[in-house]
Structure formats: structure tokens, C-alpha cells
Symmetry: C2
Subunit: 215 residues, 2 copies
């Protein structure tokens, strides 16, 4: 049913997809690439409130203006549905709504984990947490559990990381350097990260060992 009404849109890295407050008459899911949801205060302070990786969903049925800025962080391909058509499918096919509820509950859990990070973690713990989160999601795409030695590319600039973590860009940079000095991570170039010991990283993140994932 959804197949019949879907269409694709692509965006270049850096492009803003919608601005908060704009009309948004579609919902979408990320096919490839990375996008962010963020809020901005009048004076320019910005906080990322969602990180959209492949398979993640954007948009809210039953609302027609965007509540957040949506930005493509990398080149991005999205699979879109007109909002009206999607809502019709939701009504005729309860399973779609159920699936969406599940995904929304997962997002809510992630948001709450994120709130703990923002409210109570130190800068070092924040960086370690973010790296762990990305490592996990990266591994999940390959249907693996991260453990022992892990390598991947950071999909975020230092500035995007600072928006994610509620820090300044400079503090992000300093703490990455510190974690590197301490042997927790290994950095090649600006973006390529190697984690010699994943458990050590989790410890630095301040999470209890299971990482809070209680699926």
C-alpha cells in the first residue's frame, strides 16, 4: 500500500530540508545518508534534538507545520509520502500505525537517554557517549554488536557534535584530543575513529555496562 504512494527526494550535504514553522506536507524515512532535527533560539543558540540515520522516520501525521529544522548532514536520500495519503493508509491499515507507534516509543526512549546525557554528564562523558552511540548504530546496520576493536567514520562535524551534546565546538575538540591522549580512541584524519576497546569506551561514557538498551 505504501509502495504505491511513495516517491524519492534527494538532498545535498548541508542543505536545509525544512525550516521550523514551515509547511510540511509530507512524511518520510531516510534511505541513505544522515539528517538532523534541531531547534534554534532567537539569539542563535542551537540544540540538536534528533539524529536521523537510515531507516529513521521524520514528520508527524496530524500536523502540517514542521516543529524543527531538518538538515541534511551528508548527501541524503529520503523516501517520502504525501502526508494526506499516508494518513489514509494509516487508517485503512492499522499495522502501519502500530509500527509507527513502536518507532515513536523507541525515539522517546532515545530522547530520554539523551536528556540524561545533556543534564548530567560531563563533557568527556558526553563525547564518549556520542561515539558509543554512533558505533552502536553503525554496527547495528551490519547486524553486529560492537565489542573489542571497532572502526568507523564519524558522520558529524565538530560543530554538529557540539549541537548534539550541548557543548561548544572547542570543548568537543579538546575532549576528543583528551580521549585520544588517554588511548580511549584513536583518530585518523578528522573523521575516522578506531576504538581499541569498546568496553573501556562505555566505561568512559558513564553508562552502566548494558548501555541502557533493554530491547
Amino acid at each position: 500500500m505504501l509502495e504505491a504512494i511513495k516517491f524519492y527526494r534527494s538532498f545535498e550535504a548541508g542543505q536545509t530540508i525544512v525550516w521550523s514553522g514551515d509547511r510540511m506536507d509530507f512524511v518520510a524515512s531516510v534511505v541513505s545518508g544522515i539528517a538532523t532535527l534541531s531547534q534554534t533560539m532567537e539569539d542563535g543558540r542551537r540544540q540538536m534534538v534528533g539524529l536521523l540515520l537510515p531507516s529513521d522516520f521524520v514528520g508527524r501525521p496530524g500536523r502540517d507545520t514542521a516543529a524543527y529544522d531538518v538538515t541534511a548532514t551528508t548527501d541524503l536520500l529520503m523516501c517520502c509520502f504525501r502526508k494526506k495519503a499516508f494518513e489514509d493508509v494509516m487508517i485503512s491499515t492499522p499495522h502501519v500505525g502500530q509500527r509507527l507507534l513502536e518507532m515513536t516509543l523507541d525515539e522517546l526512549d532515545a530522547a530520554r537517554e539523551w536528556m540524561l546525557l545533556l543534564g548530567r554528564k560531563t563533557a568527556r562523558e558526553k563525547i564518549a557517549s556520542l561515539i558509543a552511540i554512533i558505533a552502536r548504530r553503525d554496527a547495528a546496520l551490519k547486524l553486529m554488536e560492537p565489542q573489542g576493536r571497532v572502526s568507523f567514520d564519524l558522520p558529524l562535524s565538530r560543530e554538529a557534535m557540539s549541537d548534539y551534546l550541548g557543548l561548544t565546538l572547542e570543548t568537543v575538540s579538546r575532549q576528543i584530543s583528551a580521549l585520544r591522549r588517554d588511548g580511549v580512541i584513536d583518530v585518523k584524519g578528522k573523521r575516522q575513529i578506531t576504538i581499541p576497546d569498546f568496553d573501556r569506551l562505555i566505561e568512559e561514557a558513564g553508562d552502566d555496562s548494558d548501555g541502557g538498551f533493554l530491547t
Copy 2:
């Protein structure tokens, strides 16, 4: 349908309803009183991640252990449903699932607003924001919009406020005193707040004037 399977439970102020990780075989909605969801790190740092006021929902269909500590802040009455029975109703009555999806999306929006607060607002803005949020929800119960002069009771201790805001209890206390000195709020006793000018408070909260509520 839900009527047939509901039952009530009540809790005293301060009582913990479930601990994170515990088995939780019911879902519930708050009838009266206030409860909180919070996460705790091993070393005791705590962050509130949900504030449950009357009509709010707790629990997650499709999961059987609690992801957060749930605590009664005041005396509390909850309307409960066995999880299994509730899930059955959800399947047979799509409307219930739709309603739950709507509520979950609202919670997600609230969580994201909260993330902006935690990540980017100053202590003074955090306090002003929290007072505004409570004033709004208080007014909403009476089907009003807060404006001009507003009065209500703070349902949270200083410590609970600090857990909400990602601050220490002392900073909360200092900033409340500062807002009082500056005439933004008026405090009688420990808990009773009067806001002489609601718009002034919103300004102090750093929110854009509409308060981010784009129903």
C-alpha cells in the same frame, strides 16, 4: 472496553512506584497527583526525564521491564490496566492505538523542548522555563491560557526541580531568589508562586513568544 479492565492504585507522596529494570506488568494513566520518571547513574547523578501530571500515561506496551524509576511526588491516584489486557484492546480497537500514538508524539515533542532547555539554556532561563511550563499545564487543566497575573502552587521540591533542570539544588534556590529580587516572580512560603506578568516570564525563559506550542 477499557472501562471493563481498569483498576485503581494509589500511592503516598515520596513513594517509589517501580524501579528501573523491575518487572512492570501494567500500564497506567494518572488520575490525580504528580509522578516523575527519572534515570540514575551508578554514582547517583539523577535526571528526571518525564513529569506525569493528571491524564498522562505511563508504561510501554510491548515491554515488560520498566526503563525508568517512577516516583510519586505527591499523593497519587493512578488508573491501571494489566499490560496484556491493554495490548489486546489495542489490537481489537485501533482507535486506542491511534490515541496512544498521538500522546506519544506529544511526549516526544515535550522531550525535545526539554532537550533544548537542558543543553542550551542558562540556569535562570531553566528556572523561568520550568515555572512557565507548570503555569501552562496548571492553566490547561482549567481550560485557560495563562496571561497577565497568574498564581499557583509549585508541585515540586527544590531537589525535584534540580533533577528536572539538570542543576544542583543550590543553583535552583539561588536563581529563584534572583527572579524574585528582579520582580519576575513572587514567592509566598516555599511553594506558592505568583507571576505578575506572564509575558515577562516567557521572555526570561528565552522561548519565542508563542512558547513553542504549535498545536
